[in-house]
């Protein structure tokens, strides 16, 4: 005899539901240091996004030809570029574009993935099969290649980067969402709900979609960092925001010619991209593990 797991991982509280188990007095957990650091980094960049001049009051485009290619110093924390522009100021002011491109691409990617993944899992055989084949074809292209293709068609710009990275990364997420929905649909608690005679739409709304979509919270946090890296890669290849915009990938691209003489022009924007990607990844992982703990 098969024992069905009748507990939905996430569902509305049924009337007359059981009382929570007492586990004794709970100590408030000490936050992990990596999480604290990640949150601090995100807060810094959130301020940079909202009010960059509060962190870097200089003009990110202002030329200072006398001070061209100066290494990091007390006057110029991150050094200056070939035209004497302050690199720290440019990185802070570039956060808005880089973050908006990263978040925008992630939102677009997950929205596309949600539609495609749901159709692939829930639609009729013909539609699901067609969507599956389309996703598989898109999946066959490496993300960067797909993004390059879109930039070639649409022309380089910030919006193109959002679309290119969003569409380029969507197939992977679509597959993941499809798997989550199928897993939820085939779970014991859904079988139980079907056996109890609940309507199909109610089961979908109450059990399947919430449980399938919940992991996306963690995925969203994880993929923002990844999208920023992808978008920076496009800018680095000269296929993103036009110079002299201080978008981080564009800064890397502009600095690469000076890599042997002025290391700070590539190393520091590169480190900032890595730092932000690490921060969002760390937060994503913590959200993921918190959700997993909640399921137990």
């Amino acid at each position: 005899m098969t024992i069905l797991d009748r507990r939905p991982r996430f569902a509305r509280t049924a009337p007359g539901g059981g009382t929570p188990t007492r586990r004794g007095p709970r100590r408030s957990p000490r936050p992990a240091p990596d999480l604290v650091a990640a949150v601090l980094v995100l807060v810094f960049f959130a301020v940079a996004l909202a009010a960059p001049s509060a962190l870097a009051p200089r003009d990110p485009f202002a030329l200072d030809l006398v001070n061209a290619l100066r290494p990091p110093s007390a006057e110029h924390w991150f050094g200056t570029d070939e035209s004497g522009r302050d690199l720290y100021t440019r990185i802070v002011h570039g956060a808005r574009q880089s973050l908006l491109i990263g978040v925008g691409a992630t939102v677009l990617s997950l929205a596309i993935a949600l539609v495609l993944g749901s159709l692939a899992a829930l639609a009729g055989r013909f539609v699901a099969g067609t969507v599956n084949r389309v996703v598989e074809v898109l999946f066959a292209f490496p993300t960067l290649l797909l993004a390059l293709l879109l930039v070639a068609v649409l022309g380089p710009s910030a919006w193109t980067q959002v679309v290119a990275v969003g569409v380029g990364t969507a197939p992977g997420y679509a597959r993941m969402i499809r798997g989550q929905i199928l897993s939820a649909r085939n779970s014991g608690y859904v079988e139980a709900a079907v056996a109890l005679g609940h309507p199909r739409g109610w089961i979908l709304r109450t059990h399947v979609l919430p449980n399938a979509i919940r992991p996306l919270v963690a995925v969203f946090a994880l993929s923002v960092g990844q999208s920023i890296v992808w978008a920076s890669s496009l800018s680095f290849l000269g296929l993103g925001v036009a110079p002299p915009a201080p978008e981080w990938g564009a800064l890397l691209d502009a600095g690469k010619i000076y890599v042997t003489q002025a290391w700070w022009l590539t190393v520091l924007p590169g480190l900032v991209i890595v730092l932000l990607a690490l921060a969002t990844t760390t937060i994503g992982k913590h959200i993921q593990s918190a959700l997993e703990k909640g399921e137990k």
Binding site: P244, I257, T260
Partner: protein
Amino acid sequence: MPKKRTALALAAASAATMMALAACSGAPAGPAADAQPVADGTIEYGHQQEPACVFGGWIEQAYLSYQVLDNLVSLDEDHEVVPWLAESWSVSDDQLTWTFTLKDGVTFTDGSPLTAGVVAYNFDHWLAGGNSTAQVWLDGYYASSRAVDDRTLEVSLSRPYPRLADTLTQGYFGIQSQQALETRSEEENCASPIGTGAFIVEEWNRGENIVLARNDHYTSWPANAKHEGPARVEKVNWRFLPDPTTRTASLKSGETDAVYDVPAIEWATVDGGGYELHKYVTPGRPQQLTFDTVDGPFVDERVRKAFAYSLDRRSLVETIGRGVIPYEGNGGVSRTTPGYSTDAAEAYDLDLDEANRLLDEAGWTRSGGEGVRTKDGEQLTVVLPYGAGSIINSDGASILQGVQEQAKASGFDVQLVPVPQSAFFSGAYSTPEEKDISAGYWTSVTAGILHINWRPTTPEAPNYNNDAFNADPVLENIILRANSAVDPQEQNALYGEAQDYIAEHALAIGLYDRLSTLAVSPFLKGVWQENAQGGPVFHDAYFVE
């Protein structure tokens, strides 16, 4: 443990990066003073850009075709025209008939002989569109050509053009086999044109390299060659390395023996590293900005002048060019062009007061003396597209960003649009409605380039090389008189007058002189830059132990 592993991985990656960078900056040990030449060998050469065909109207094609095709004449170090395929030439008293006597016994690499008839066929081929740049040079002057006999070519002109021989030294005028042009496909002649030159195209791996193999039967070297006989090396591996850092690093690491276009930032380290540096300031049109005079704000001469007065071009170029790239104020021709006008070069210096006065007078206003100016509700936004990586290199792009920033001070909003090579050569941003400023250069041995760039454009006779889109009969008349002036002094004075006119009306302003630079390993000797356009010459090159 995972944290330790991460830290170790980061440390290892940093160390590897530093080692890689250090490896790239190492100087080569030079050859001994009594090092002996080595026969044969393959020159690994790193070049910046890859053209669509070996032969064509772009300087990048001229550099390549120079290795494969011979011209009628060459230019020596004193800028005197010297024999190449033509051993002598003369011009009639009325300046309308040029007679070239060809070398005897020269054959193309497909075995067909070089005859006057073949050269005449080439002239007609260029004029029919076989080479877009050769076409615009000769258009309006060339009437016909005929073979008087196998070795005597007669070229008839409709108007005197005393600098014809100088013009023919450029790579756009390489002579191809008539047999190949008539019997082979366009694609074949594009990828491997058949000439009488020192090398033949062995293979072209698109996006990677062109392998040039020695023409063992070469007999037609120019009078200014450094040695007589076929090329000393067996092959040239002409590699396309568009990234300047990679290109320079390839030389420093010994992966290449010579590279083209050394970035200004690397000049000092390459110079101090024992490499041989060559710098050629290309004559012709410098890297400059031409204003759209028929559509947009620059129709008003005052706005054009205001733009010129709002820039400190010299400081920009001298800082970003790091003393390697010369500042050029003249928008007509560069300082190495015969007939150069210093007055035109010095016409506009930074003068924000004057720029603001002119813009106020032209009706472009702004409140509080800051921000972008407006007129009738329209902002003073101007579009400046440029061929990113093809026409404007990394240093040039930084200079244009400086122009954009400096122009802000007087209320211009300059929109820079980097245009990829494929889009640029497909005609993107080529109409007056699409752009307000054009950036670019056009190399040329004489100031005759002014005729190409400033010949009036009209609906009946469009001139697609006129970036001002104007039709100025006064300017045209000065240039036409200059083109046909026999006396060099008179000619130079007229060309100077044309440049002064361009400056006076702020039709174009200069930025910097285009350079053709080469860095060569100390183990490779005899590489030189040809004197018409500054391309590398490998016919005389050889390795030493």
